[in-house]
Symmetry: C2
Subunit: 412 residues, 2 copies
């Protein structure tokens, strides 16, 4: 095991820092992909708490024009970009005369990503985050990575591009941030293994039958974390942990046997590492995404942040149990997909994205998500994957299959 080169401390890069007229050049400029989502909004709150340290270079969002306009007026970025081009005129109108460039559509979005910046926070959900993240690597010095699907679907491509462009990757997912913090400047050869914690989601104690019949509002009731809909559903199925498992393999250059998944319902220990001397370091904290976001922005320093301290005495206990693999089959599929190779990981993610969307659209109950994914993974996903277009082709192919399966379960 060795630490991925792009995931460690970074020397002074070749790229200059982006600078706007009249702004302190010591300030760090941030390009925020997925600005109107849960992670994006938490990042803006961190920036709000440290206006002398950070400034926003670009805000990139999908469809939420209202939030984008509001945030643009507060944070005054050089540029905003909206994937949904149909709403661009409204954004341009609202920001007229503000000196903020308004871009839209795929090309506008990629153009925004390629503006020079110090830190790019990639927080677009799903494989949709991959292309903008790859584009951003050409223009940034640090990638704060919250979009796990871009690693799951394009891990090799992303890690190689980061290395080529001398971009440090700092994980933002609370689990991977925990591992990164625990490993901080420890000799990497000292690492024995990683304990990845999982909350177990809202169905942790439910019977298999009850899980199968669950409705969206039940799956959306996450016990600890307030997150977007897609990741909350993935937490309920443990697919989120499966994606994180693959993410950890790439980020920390591990093998599947190096990672143990433990269900820890309170989500206080965000993950831990064991060293060769039998000593463990764990990162703990209140379930507040602002902590790992701030760490990714400030590493190797830490910025003061008004998140609630832990009150262990009131909390009383931390619990641990084994995952119920038979009732949550997607977790184990991560290892299978990893062993099968890149196309299988792309299919794994695509099947799940489609199934989750169908579930949230009310087309079937919760149990069908795992059935769509598990059955879809029976196919031999072994076509060679080179660049982005191969990934997108494999993704489309898996989505087509997913839609066939979804139609079957929705009819039933």
């Amino acid at each position: 095991m060795r630490r991925a080169k792009s995931c460690g401390p970074k020397g002074t890069g070749q790229k200059g820092r982006a600078k706007r007229d009249g702004q302190d050049s010591a300030m760090k400029s941030i390009t925020l992909l997925g600005a109107s989502g849960s992670i994006g909004q938490s990042c803006l709150d961190v920036v709000r708490q440290h206006p002398q340290v950070f400034r926003i270079e670009a805000l990139v969002a999908g469809r939420n024009a209202t939030q984008l306009i509001k945030d643009a007026l507060e944070f005054r970025p050089a540029c905003v970009a909206l994937a949904d081009a149909s709403q661009a005129p409204a954004v341009a109108h609202a920001l007229a005369g503000q000196g903020i460039e308004v871009l839209a559509g795929r090309d506008g979005l990629l153009e925004a990503c390629q503006r020079p910046n110090d830190i790019c926070l990639s927080a677009i959900t799903g494989i949709a985050g991959l292309e903008p993240t790859l584009a951003a690597l050409t223009a940034t010095r640090r990638l704060a990575l919250a979009n796990k699907e871009s690693l799951v679907c394009g891990g090799s491509l992303l890690m190689e591009a980061a290395q080529r462009h001398e971009v440090a990757i700092i994980p933002v997912d609370s689990e991977h941030s925990a591992i990164f913090q625990a490993l901080h400047q420890q000799p990497r050869k000292a690492l024995r293994n990683v304990v990845l914690t999982a909350s177990g989601g809202p169905f942790r104690t439910w019977s298999a039958d009850a899980i199968a019949q669950a409705k969206p509002e039940q799956a959306l009731a996450h016990p600890n974390w307030d997150m977007g809909a897609k990741v909350t559903i993935d937490s309920a199925s443990l697919m989120n942990k499966a994606l994180e498992f693959i993410e950890a393999l790439y980020l920390f250059d591990l093998q599947p046997g190096d990672i143990e998944v433990v269900v820890h319902r309170q989500s206080i220990i965000h993950s831990m590492v064991q060293f060769h001397d039998g000593s463990y370091l764990a990162q703990l904290g209140a379930p507040d995404m602002r902590s790992p976001i701030a760490y990714a922005l400030t590493y190797p320093d830490r910025a003061a942040l008004n998140v609630a301290p832990l009150d262990l005495m009131t909390l009383g206990r931390l619990d641990f149990e084994a995952p119920r693999h038979s009732d949550f089959p997607l977790l184990k599929m991560a290892e299978h997909a990893w062993q099968e190779g890149p196309a299988a990981m792309i299919a794994f993610n695509a099947l799940n994205e489609e199934a989750v969307a169908a579930f949230l659209g009310g087309r079937f109950t919760f149990g069908a998500i795992a059935r769509v994914v598990v059955e879809g993974m029976d196919k031999a996903w072994n076509q060679p994957i080179g660049g982005l277009s191969d990934i997108q082709d494999a993704d489309k192919s898996a989505r087509r299959l997913a839609q066939e399966r979804i139609a079957r379960y929705a009819e039933a």
Copy 2:
């Protein structure tokens, strides 16, 4: 708060490494104070696992000639020293012709401490460890400190001497090792506070009356750690945590308000630190002193060690509760002693050492330990403390008072 200068990573010092004929100069030489005690024996087991990395320069013990001879024959140090001079002839006889120098008594012991070495592990119990530890600072590059009483009684003296002699202090107590590991190369200004965990000892759930009436065999039954008698009794009274509280103030340059003591009965989380961003790092492990000893010997590296890994799923839970200050009054006295100053801390330790010895000698039940200490601390302990002789005078004075009190309770 700033980190004590002597408690951080060390540059290349001026002192050469000790070297014996025919031995690899890259090997680290260790002088072991308290060789026949629990920590000393654990240290020898670490050395046994890494014969290519460490060699023993000197073994220093108190009275246990049998163990000293056995260890000398196994580890072949350059020198052994026994505090109890009456047994020196027997040791000299047993080691005759082995090329091992045999020293004895106070002077012999100090001579052994002053032989050049790379690492001195100070593990003599009680204030008896202070003078040898101070002597060792003139001859070593790293002090692996397990003798908490030398910090409690001579903290300023010891920290200053370590700085003067350019000796790095690496804590060995599991709690302080945990804090040291969690702080590892983090920017010290990022530290918010420290959570010092306590097992609560064998009387954690006992009624006040039952605690007061407890006998030595009950107090010696520590739930988690296998340690020497003195520290086990101190764990039962929470005096051990009081001493560690003061130790942490010195080691990490903290103020009392920076430390929160939490009872954690499983002793798995050995302590933790909170940073300014609300993130905590905790060090965890099986209760095995070989881990923190090995870390103190190998820092900043880590050596492979055959200690049992944690099995969180079998363990099931980690519990936390507030200390019962009214039933364990010694813990809170640490802060009082610290505020009163050096003489009060010396008295605090001396009163306890005498009371524990009397308890172990069967002179009274457990409750009298705290009464001897608390009542003894009523006196104004405020004489100025300069060097070692002042410390020894204050220590004697407190021991005299302790003996008066002990006689009274023993008669009752």
